[in-house]
Amino acid sequence: MGRRGRLVLKIFAWAVCLAPLAALAWWIGRALWLHTDDLGANPISFITNHLGDWTFRLLLASLAMTPLRIVFGWGWPLLLRRLLGLFAFTYAVLHFSVWILVDHFFNWGQMAEDVVKRPYITVGMLALLTLIPLALTSTTGMIKRLGARRWTRLHRLVYLTGVLAALHFLWLAKVGRTDQYIYVAVLAALLGVRVVEWARRLVRRAGKIPPPRPATPP
């Protein structure tokens, strides 16, 4: 892919990642100044859910880049992986901030109780925590400092993030709701591609190693 192509790709990715925030800003603005009903009767819940949904979507998008390369052999998805991951982190921080600043309005006691007593909050919190080292080590400088090998190993943490996010969604979804299963199925597929690839490599490598010599009887 040429420089032009890369630029177009990046601009497109930025636009997709920023659109949900722009939409949210638009709705909030209209609700505040024009008293429209864009955010519904329970705006805080609406905003929390919007940000949570997009955190998960972008997390899945960032997790989809490697499988696209594995399955189709494309190189360009890897150009977007970091961008998508960092935006997922940004949305997660905003999602969390709404919870602290708006939903509970610094009611630390109740928040602490929620983190301890509500499993879906506990795992959401853990999911966010796992994203912090990934975001901090996302710069090219940090990759060099850590060395590619250690960096890669550290960034496998994102699989755990995915699983924790899935648990968060499964546990918060009320009886009768179904869209959470779609997210979980996509996550399972994206992790599944990796498992298959990993197994294939293992088999290939095993094929190259000569079989162990038959044991000689004493």
Binding site: D37, G40, A41, N42, F105, N107, E113, K117, G176
Partner: protein
């Protein structure tokens, strides 16, 4: 004429208390609503959504708070028969046909009776009661309901001495209630929706058989044509679009108990000290307000209802 004139009021205006009262004066004096209901019986059609329904406010049992915006109360609903999302009921509500409609009051009673809905509406004097509706999802609304105590009907059918509980059943019809169609993943509620109360709870003067709100005939998404409202319990205890009220001797198995017994108990009294696995019940967000407010024991109705539960471990019987 009357209907058309009132329909010109926008929802946002209705919530303005002054206008709201003006409107009530405007429709007062003629028994207009009842006359209207009578015409509707004649042509077998339901009164149009938003048709005025007149009732004097019972101040003694009403909270002194400004009602939630009507628009919020009719667009942010949990009514799974129409779908699980909060905006599904408003969108799908037109599917429900509220006439003809009958409510069978039966079971362990001496005089079982099937009421035609318009007969039921006229059987007892209507009153308006402003109650706080507290959802188990930790939000609440202030709603001026119109109805009469459920006890009035129950006394009319004369429960036998074996009757200990009252079971409410919602209409079962997947055509009118698309949410009752079997889902792709299954695992939803078991239909029809069944709720229940202990007989003394059902007879409590606060328990309202409800046919209207905000000076209007009850909108479909709020449980038309008839629902109950039990203000000291979480919202899902107040069954909507009721077709059968049955007096029974055993505690009924409710729809939510069957779906998730560890989350939704039979009593489901509003209780800030007993949390739901997913929501702390210590605080709630009043729709239209920014900050959470503390949740009150029995939703603020402790003085009236706490005695029903003396000796009952409310942590165990949540």
């Amino acid at each position: 004429m009357l209907i058309r004139r009132t329909e010109r009021f926008k929802a946002s205006e209705i919530t303005d208390e002054k206008l709201y009262l003006n409107r009530r004066e405007f429709i007062a004096g003629g028994g207009a609503a009842l006359a209207l209901a009578a015409c509707d019986v004649a042509d077998g059609a339901a009164p149009p959504a938003g048709a005025p329904l007149k009732a004097a406010r019972n101040d003694g049992v009403s909270v002194k708070e400004v009602p939630t915006k009507l628009e919020s109360a009719t667009t942010y609903n949990n009514f799974y028969e129409f779908g699980v999302n909060k905006d599904d009921p408003a969108r799908e509500a037109h599917r429900l046909k509220t006439r003809p409609w009958t409510v069978a009051v039966e079971g362990l009673v001496h005089k079982p009776k099937t009421y035609d809905i318009d007969e039921l509406i006229r059987a007892f004097p209507l009153e308006e009661r402003v109650y706080v509706l507290r959802c188990v999802e930790a939000w609440s609304m202030v709603i001026p309901w119109i109805g009469f105590p459920l006890g009035a009907v129950l006394k009319q059918v004369e429960p036998t001495s074996q009757a200990k509980f009252v079971e409410f059943t919602t209409l079962l019809d997947p055509v009118q209630f698309p949410g009752q169609k079997p889902g792709f993943f299954g695992g939803g509620l078991e239909w029809p929706y069944v709720e229940g109360l202990r007989l003394d709870e059902a007879l409590h003067p606060l328990t309202l058989l409800t046919v209207g709100m905000y000076g209007q005939v009850l909108p479909n998404q709020n449980g038309a044509p008839v629902r109950i409202v039990v203000p000291w319990k979480y919202g899902f205890k107040s069954a909507k679009s009721i077709v059968r009220i049955r007096l029974v001797s055993e505690q009924p198995k409710t729809a939510w108990e069957k779906a998730a017994p560890q989350e939704y108990g039979f009593y489901s009294n509003v209780n800030p000290t007993v949390s739901h696995p997913r929501w702390s019940q210590a605080t709630e967000r009043r729709i239209g307000e920014f900050r959470r407010r503390p949740t009150l024991m029995f939703n603020g109705y402790a003085d009236q209802v706490a005695s029903l539960y003396s000796g009952l471990d409310l942590k165990k019987h949540y």
